[in-house]
Symmetry: C2
Amino acid sequence: MQGSKIAIIGAGSLAFSLSMVTDFSLTKSIADSRVVLMDIDPKRLDAVYSLTKRYSQELGSRLQVEKTMDMKEAIRDSNFVINSAFADGYDGLGQMIEEAEKYGYYRGLDATEWNMVNNYTIYTGHKQYQIALGIARTIEEVAPDGWMLEAANPLLEITTMLLRKTKVKVVGFCHGFHAYAGLARVAGIANPDELDFQVVGLNHDVWLTRLKQNNNDLYPVIDEWLRYRAEAFWSSYVLDVWEEQFSRAAADMYRRYGLYPIGDTTRSGPWTYHRDLKTKQKWYGPVGGVDSEIGWTMRLLRNRRNLDRLFRLATNTEVSPLKELPPVKSGEQFADFIDCVTNGAERRLVLNVRNQGALKHIPEDVAVEVPVQMVGDKMTVEPLERLPRTVEKFALIPRWERMEWALEAFDALQEGGAPAYKEALANILMTDARTHSTEQVSSVLDSIMSMPYNRPEKAA
Amino acid sequence: MQGSKIAIIGAGSLAFSLSMVTDFSLTKSIADSRVVLMDIDPKRLDAVYSLTKRYSQELGSRLQVEKTMDMKEAIRDSNFVINSAFADGYDGLGQMIEEAEKYGYYRGLDATEWNMVNNYTIYTGHKQYQIALGIARTIEEVAPDGWMLEAANPLLEITTMLLRKTKVKVVGFCHGFHAYAGLARVAGIANPDELDFQVVGLNHDVWLTRLKQNNNDLYPVIDEWLRYRAEAFWSSYVLDVWEEQFSRAAADMYRRYGLYPIGDTTRSGPWTYHRDLKTKQKWYGPVGGVDSEIGWTMRLLRNRRNLDRLFRLATNTEVSPLKELPPVKSGEQFADFIDCVTNGAERRLVLNVRNQGALKHIPEDVAVEVPVQMVGDKMTVEPLERLPRTVEKFALIPRWERMEWALEAFDALQEGGAPAYKEALANILMTDARTHSTEQVSSVLDSIMSMPYNRPEKAA
């Protein structure tokens, strides 16, 4: 039997594509797949092609790796299409944040309650929506039975938009839920990778509804850590970027809302944790979390260092990438999902799928992040533990509301062009805690919308 | 046949009770009713009893007017129970606002997006919720077939809470929708009281979805007024309190959200219209609207003057109240509703009833304000005109969200007492644009919760 065809759109992200190829190679049951890398940047595409092809060959994998700059050809007859495109790039984001801060919008226009992340946009992310919609429309046309595996941010908005606007079988993927194990490790729980856990919510707004070992509830162990040892931990250990899971902010959210926030959730919450650098440092340690101006710079440097290294490996064919990068599974769930669908395997995954009643106060046509039992391509949402009303009302409804605003802004752009888009963004900023006048809103939007990286145009 | 028994709880409000008795007297088909006035303040109860009894006698009405301080007796076997209780009173509200402003919460803790009103509380309104719930429980016990006609604020929260928690047939009443006629008058439309209108939304967040005369759309006439004459109106006419319908703020909301806001809706919107007195004056004229510190003082003075006058009429039995107060129908819909239910009359009313799909993004168990065709006690929600997504997403969802927060705070109080209530209020204030630190939240809540008028106690 011929293996699956898997297209990766936006494959120029070397680290991500290398993870995919590694995972596919190490998952024997799907290692006969054909992987088509697609990107619009020829230099990056050549690099990722060279690197992943040599890597899989060195691994002795049967994986077929190909490349193309033609999206439609990449997608045609694919069984799976992974969207990892990142249109604005960190440069565009950085420029937008810098510009917005001139008008009083600390950390950029898109930083908002329950979405205080700086590495993607929700309101001004029109290019991300346009790309994702373009991919989905192409799947409808040339690979109507294919699955769209959505990896690009903003994941909640994009997955929901595709569920609403297209007929494509779309599933959203995020590895953030794994962070519960790190929390368990810091709290001193043995074998943190073998726990019975349940994480539930909206992407990047997910909560630990269950943590058990041998049927014993482990929340009391976390409570004990918080009571007797966390203060000593916070005063002696300097939290690095991506260690927000162990922060005072996360602990405070747990105290406030009744469940521990998991992964990227801990980067958010209301402005109370994020008002300015000093506030962020109080809650996230000296770095102020990955989304502060310090954390942002540190992340950029690390990304750059890592990218340079991968580029060197990609372009220097004398070196063995396998020697430099030992093969370990990435923790992403794409290979597992593809294995289930392709080979009828059974697995429990945490996926972003249509709500259908899992979260009570959130409409049915919204993508929720929930544990799903897969048997082949059948997906059954696991019965959920009770979610405290405080989490629903104070953390999930506000994030859902902002998703609706973000999708409304994109719809306005699609239907009415740049003026309608500006109007919608203005309506959103009118509710922003950083807004002091209508003039401020109008000028920041004029300024951001005329930046070269960001020209909003009506979709064709 | 014996007439209906109508209980008015919180009847000490002289103006409101007098309106009711006038309306019932002038609606011949229900003028044989028995009206039982109930209040906990004996002085006010005596006054309202004397005034309304003499007034209805002078009108030659068959209405039987009685009084009692016993709520259960008032409600027992009632066909209709009107709740108009106002527990905190203006003195309590005024103290709370003054205290909250010391901590940076301009116009009090409950001023919030789409609820910038100062004459009732939503988050700190626990006494209003407790009273309404007490009345509903009593109806369940001693008048299980009776209707509860909810008039007390916060109407959206109370009506929804009763729909969720009790079996009582509850309907919420507000006269604010009439303001569309004033708008039409100012815009120069002839016969403004004979228009085909539709007003839809959540109470105090309602929007003019239709305005027609002889099947002609009148929105273009409003547009013309805005384009050619409104600026001259605003610069020559000084808006009084309760004239927010004609304000620049209302016009800006129309421009922003796509429909004209009606009645109390125009007092709200995001902080952009309300940040400080100067901002309010820019949008509402020199008074700054009825909710500014100027408008608040003017309203208090007028209330006081009006109350003094009614008290004098009530206590001086030498004077004829009918000579002083010519009998006109109030514009409230209670008498009309009672007539429909009692006599099988047919009428179109604007009522607050269970959503059941009228507003798409709002859950079914929320009270929405919609035009209802009554035939006897059968209520059919009129087919709604299309509601722009902007109104739904930027004006209705945010108000609904705050309603959920308000009800969550009351539930927390009921279940966990004052500490849980404080926690819930803190979670709400964490998202408030006026909050700058966790300490600010904690101190303002300690201060407000220890004020004598406001001691939160768990319900018995």
